[in-house]
């Protein structure tokens, strides 16, 4: 007989692990990835592959040589950061820019705080926003969906529905005019991802399938995404009713830009979102409001990334004041 082990209870474990959750998120991202390959061709593959490899490499190097830790790149978290960073950039972004983005995401966004579990801001979004501010031209030149007839760096480009709407409203045209005249804006295309945009954000349906999968596997709860969707729906709905010609309706806002990708995959990042369900709902409402404010009143056509990063900063405060419902 072996020596008897002594430890306090419990003596069994659910078998859940960091890897199971992380790889579960990656599986949930597969439908969106397939859509982006279908619509953006080789560019989507190259950008995603570069981003993932760069994130893994930087995490490995920093852990091994700077922090002198046992590298944990197989836990899946750097993989997710890599995929999400790629999903948040245009599919024709040059490789060297992606590598810079990966360095900022992993190096500054994650490892400088102490690695997995310690970062305040979503690493992929830190990388994305850094690139958006540093390389505004490359980051806002989106290839049009043309499948594999798109070549990586030399694709036909155009604006995203959000940018088209913003420009048109600025020049004095009305919402209904834009929706009826511009062939680049169709709700059907926005649902399946047949529009210009960052490579992983376009296919709303694919992202929603990923959401359903994560709910089914109990990787995330519904609170954050639903709070965001509901807030955006109500807020843009009120604006739209007040002035239908100047403010686009809720459906337009829900289906465009980074709304789905952000709400389902970025805002729900374990590390940077609140711990109690009440906190999650408040956090989601905050993201919804800030996004709509930036989109309709700000200079940028899209505000999802900024909204999530701003609410990330509030997470510790929310955790402090939003306690879970006690037993009694």
């Amino acid at each position: 007989m072996n020596k008897l082990l002594i430890s306090p209870s419990p003596h069994v474990h659910s078998g859940d692990s960091i890897e199971k959750n992380m790889y579960g998120v990656l599986i949930a991202l597969i439908p969106a990835f397939l859509c982006s390959i279908f619509f953006f061709g080789t560019g989507a593959l190259i950008v995603t592959l570069t981003s993932v490899l760069a994130c893994l490499l930087f995490e490995y190097l920093i852990q091994k040589f700077l922090l002198k830790q046992q590298p944990t790149i197989l836990d899946g978290s750097a993989l997710i950061t890599g995929v999400l960073l790629a999903f948040n950039v245009p599919s024709n972004l040059p490789v060297w820019i992606i590598i810079i983005g990966a360095l900022v995401a992993i190096g500054i966004g994650k490892m400088s705080f102490g690695g997995l579990g310690c970062n305040i801001f979503n690493p992929a979004l830190v990388g994305r926003v850094f690139l958006l501010i540093s390389f505004p031209v490359q980051m806002t030149t989106w290839p049009l969906p043309a499948g594999f007839s798109n070549s990586y760096l030399d694709a036909q480009t155009g604006a995203t529905p959000l940018a088209i709407m913003k420009e048109a409203l600025k020049s004095g045209r009305s919402v209904s005019e834009v929706l009826s005249s511009d062939t680049l804006i169709s709700f059907r295309d926005m649902l399946i991802g047949n529009t210009g945009g960052s490579l992983g954000e376009v296919a709303a349906i694919a992202l929603l399938i990923g959401f359903a999968f994560m709910l089914f596997r109990k990787i995330i709860t519904w609170h954050i995404p639903v709070a965001i969707f509901a807030t955006v729906f109500v807020f843009t709905g009120i604006l739209h009713i007040c002035n239908p010609e100047h403010f686009a309706g809720p459906l337009f806002h829900l289906l465009t830009g980074g709304m789905m990708l952000g709400a389902i995959f970025m805002a729900t990042d374990y590390v940077t979102s609140p711990m109690s369900t009440k906190g999650m709902v408040i956090y989601g409402i905050g993201i919804g409001i800030i996004t709509v404010v930036i989109r309709t009143f700000g200079a940028y056509p899209e505000g999802m990334s900024f909204a999530i990063l701003i609410m990330n900063a509030f997470t510790p405060l929310i955790n402090r004041y939003c306690k879970p419902q006690r037993f009694a």
């Binding site: 007989m1 002594i6 003596h11 069994v12 859940d16 310690c118 711990m275 306690k323």
Partner: protein
Amino acid sequence: MLKTFRIGGVHPPENKLSSSEKIQILPVPEQVIIPLGQHIGAPATPIVQKGDYVKAGQLIATATGFVSANIHSSVSGTIVAIDNFTDAAGLSKPAITIKVEGDEWEKNITRSEKTDHNITLSKEKIIEAISAAGIVGMGGATFPTQVKLSPPPGNKAEILIINGVECEPYLTADHRIMLEKAEEIIVGVQILMKAIDVKQAVIGIENNKRDAIEKLQSLATKTLGVEVCPLKVRYPQGGEKQLIKAITGRSVPSGALPIAVGAVVQNVGTALAVYEAVMQNKPLVERVVTITGKSVKHPGNYLCRIGTPISKLIEAAGGLPEDTTKIIGGGPMMGRAMVNPESPILKGTSGILIINDKEGARKQSRNCIRCSKCVSACPMGLEPYLLMTLATHNMLEDMEKEKVMDCIECGSCSFTCPADRPLLDYIRLGKARTGAMIRNRKK
């Protein structure tokens, strides 16, 4: 929709390997060790001498103080030592060791299989009989039963809740007695109702024990005021506060006892012991214990004399498996790992679980990824991740504010944690220190 408690909870694999094994009688061993402290509170005081001959059921140590319980001999034989022994945890504790000679019982104890339905004793006499029989909570908490039946002044019991939940995985002792001793349990419930003077009793049983639910339901319909409430399978439903919530919808306030919402909770095993004490004059000297585990050859349920070495029970189940890493007294969620398999079966031993090396090893703890799964699992609505951090920094004032004293140590947090963090280990430590801090403040 089946009833259950409202917040938190987990559903570990049930692994009720021995649920269809009939209760067998474990042979009386050559020697028993009967510890003087088998209950919460002060150890009992021995009233026998070394060399004395005692009969089974004879009083050998009396309760010292209010929260204490009498101890009886479980066998007939000669007392060979009144001394310290090494208990399951490896600590030295006082006990009476008896060398077994034959099996002679005290004359006034009825040992018939026939159920006696005729409750003649008064409320006071019932509580006296229960106290004399040394009955304690058989679910594992081992709180002296007569204390629970005597509510503090100003409190009035309204409902008796019988805990037949057995939410711990693996354990089946309560399940088997509900099937095989159903009539006695129902009478025991009626006795308890009379003792606390209530008109309503509810037996809560999880829905994975359909046969026990049906069996007790068929008897309960013939019994005034007693009903059976099937519950959704969910751990830790056997926790007093969770069970009261599930059955009555009432929440016991933080720091209060069940009587604050008019409830008294007793285990089914306790109800059976109460029946035997009141109707048969039989003190608590034997109980049903589950012996189980994935590598155990013959998992089963045995009626054991208190004081029988646990190793005898393991032998009866086919011996200790090769790949044993842990022997647990109780279930896998809240049981205690033991160092000494020669230590005796106690009044509160509901099961012995043998864990093999596949289940037994803990994984390396990693960084908290703040997934909040521990928060959703906590049945008391606490934040285990935060309590663990506070405990590591010894921030006791903050732990008190975060309600650490409400923690029932069910282990749902550690069970759930994807990063394998030993949440409950630290919370338990912090809770003990916070408790000491609060007691010192009152002085």
